[in-house]
């Protein structure tokens, strides 16, 4: 009995196989050796901050190619919970850490959480540029936007909009999954629900665009989105007190009511790559990202000097 030799193409393939394997092994080994070990920073938290955090991570890759920042959202609470478990290096939070959370983190990991203020989220209330209104109270906003509110016409606010016969207020809002929506609900409406019938748009920019093209509209959006077609209203939090215009200074000294700080939290004083990353975020380059994303950067005297 003779063994049937493999047919010609198969034989050729068999011959070629070791060569291919060797090449693959060399290639793999070579590229691994050439790659320096990457430091990975785990970053999780606020959905409001997830976009700006992603841009930070991308921009920082240019500044420090050997550091990779892995960003994920989920909400401030999710980020802080992960920090308490020690699962992340940096937690993003658009609210202050609660004392109970700080305690828990210290009990769990033995380290005190340290916070950094890396910017501000400030919402402006926008109206069309021809609207004579220049300021609004939180009470009026609630009556306008919240469920059970009664205001439906500009005349009820004592406003006459030039060139318009039907002065029904066009309320512009955001879709319910947006962080801006929740922030406005919490800070302007005292967590009451929105009244049905507002135009719920999909982006901060769209809100300003619609308000800019509609004389009877009112809307809220990040301060950084203002255009020439709209006007930002001053906001009064207590009846009788003067209205505060949404300026960067008013955000910094916390007199503007629709603003909040954006924080990063670490366990203990940050070390090494994490410290360099946070220093970079607080530098002019990192703060430019904050500004470009529609948020308010921290004042220059609080920034890190290179």
């Amino acid at each position: 009995m003779t063994r049937v030799p493999p047919s010609k193409p198969i034989r050729l393939a068999l011959l070629a196989l070791p060569a291919v394997l060797a090449a693959a092994a060399c290639g793999g080994g070579g590229s691994q050796a050439a790659k320096p070990a990457k430091t990975i920073i785990q970053n999780k938290g606020s959905d409001t901050m997830v976009n700006v955090a992603q841009v930070w991570a991308e921009e920082y890759r240019k500044a420090a190619p050997d550091v990779e920042v892995e960003v994920s959202g989920g909400g401030s609470g999710v980020g802080i919970a992960a920090l308490i478990k020690g699962a992340v290096d940096v937690a993003n939070a658009s609210r202050d850490l609660k004392p109970s959370e700080a305690e828990q983190a210290e009990k769990n990991t033995g380290k005190k959480p340290v916070g950094f203020n890396v910017g501000y989220d400030a919402l402006a209330v926008y109206v069309h540029k021809d609207n004579p209104l220049s300021e609004i109270t939180l009470e009026q906003l609630t009556d306008l936007y919240a469920e059970g509110g009664k205001t439906t016409r500009w005349s009820e606010l004592g406003v006459k909009i030039p060139g318009v016969s039907d002065d029904t207020i066009v309320r512009v809002s955001r879709q319910s999954s947006s962080g801006t929506y929740e922030f406005f609900r919490e800070h302007a409406l005292g967590n009451r629900d929105f009244r049905m019938g507002s135009r719920d748009l999909n982006g901060s920019k769209e809100v300003v665009e619609l308000v800019g093209s509609t004389p009877t509209a009112i809307g809220y959006s990040g301060m950084g989105y203002a255009t020439a077609a709209v006007k930002m209203l001053g906001v009064t939090s207590q009846p009788g007190s003067p209205a505060v215009a949404p300026t960067i200074a008013a955000v910094h000294d916390k007199t503007y009511p629709l603003a909040r700080s954006l924080h990063l939290y670490t366990l203990g004083e940050p070390q090494g790559a994490v410290k360099q990353y946070i220093d970079w975020i607080l530098s002019d380059a990192g703060q430019k990202v904050v500004e470009d994303s529609g948020y308010v950067p921290v004042p220059p005297d609080q920034r890190a000097k290179p």
Binding site: S176, E186, D193, M196, R199, D200, S213
Partner: protein, 311 residues
């Protein structure tokens, strides 16, 4: 094939078809049957999976089916009082669809009758190509047209405060369903045998009498199918209405008011609803509701057609 073993082939035996041809034909027949049955299978499977995602919320204490169907309060992410009422969304879908059909049906059927009965052959060929081109425009492009061109036109012409509203969505949807109605309606009219036309003309009917006394009644099933496919297109359309209707959850006061439709609501919120949450399941239930609406439309139409036939 005969079982007996003839020593020599019979000189006048019928030529046998090769075995592979017979088997191949059987196989193709089975395949075609499978294609036919699979439609039922797919519909059932889709309905099953949609309902399976939605089902757990039906037994939750916080959820009431009455509220889901008849409340206008849609607060899926409320901080203190979550409510899932889809009446405003259903009304939104129905109002936009109704307006779209009011525009598209006369227009579409008119065009179909013109193409099939009154039009010179050369013009017809050109028109058909153009109409087919119209149906090839992606819905996101229609939505963009609604958002930019149409909304400005509506604001200028009607004085509405915002240009994205029922009128805008209705016009866009009408434009999207007209090609469907025209091409299927024309096929239905063409399928009426020429003997009907000849008989009508021989009896001294004018062309118009011929159309509305003979051809339209004879082709009514096909024409109804054309209209229904148009309705289906309008009810199920998502992207264009998401962009053109203004996205406001409430019962509209007029055709210049913004609304949100069931489909647009699912598209806008499903991506953000955590998988497995009540919000997520309610959105799937909304999908099932949409399914039932189209089913009801088709079923009623079928019923109507049978009613007409019996008379």
């Amino acid at each position: 094939m005969s079982p007996e073993n003839a020593p020599d082939p019979a000189p006048f035996a019928r030529p046998q078809r090769p075995r592979w041809a017979v088997v191949g034909e059987r196989a193709i027949e089975a395949l075609i049957r499978l294609c036919g049955v699979s439609a039922i299978l797919f519909v059932a499977a889709i309905f099953f999976f949609v309902l399976r995602e939605a089902a757990p919320v039906l037994v939750r204490d916080e959820f009431s089916l009455g509220q889901f169907l008849f409340s206008t309060e849609w607060y899926p992410t409320s901080a203190n009082n979550v409510r899932y009422g889809t009446l405003a969304l259903t009304v939104g879908t129905l109002s936009v669809t109704a307006l779209a059909m009011a525009l598209a049906v006369p227009f579409g059927l008119g065009a179909a009758i013109y193409l099939s009965e009154f039009c010179a052959p050369r013009v017809r060929e050109t028109l058909k190509v153009v109409i087919e081109l119209l149906s090839a425009i992606p819905s996101v492009v229609w939505g963009f047209v609604g958002l930019t061109v149409m909304s400005k036109l509506i604001v200028t012409l009607t004085g509405a405060p915002v240009g994205v509203n029922i009128l805008n969505g209705g016009i866009i949807l009408a434009l999207m369903s007209v090609p469907v109605i025209v091409s299927i309606g024309e096929d239905a009219l063409k399928a009426v045998p020429d003997s009907y036309r000849e008989a009508g003309l021989a009896l001294g009917a004018t062309r118009w009498q011929l159309v509305y006394r003979v051809l339209v009644p004879a082709a009514r099933n096909g024409l109804l199918a054309a209209v229904l496919l148009g309705v289906g297109r309008a009810v199920g359309e998502t992207m264009a209405v998401l962009m053109a209707t203004g996205h406001a959850v409430h019962i509209p006061a007029g055709i210049l008011d913004s609304v949100r439709t069931l489909t647009a609501n699912i598209a806008a919120e499903l991506g953000e609803a955590p998988a497995g949450s009540d919000h997520y399941r309610v959105l799937f239930l909304t999908g099932a509701l949409l399914f039932l609406i189209t089913f009801a439309v088709n079923f009623t139409a079928d019923f109507v057609v049978r009613g007409i036939r019996r008379k």
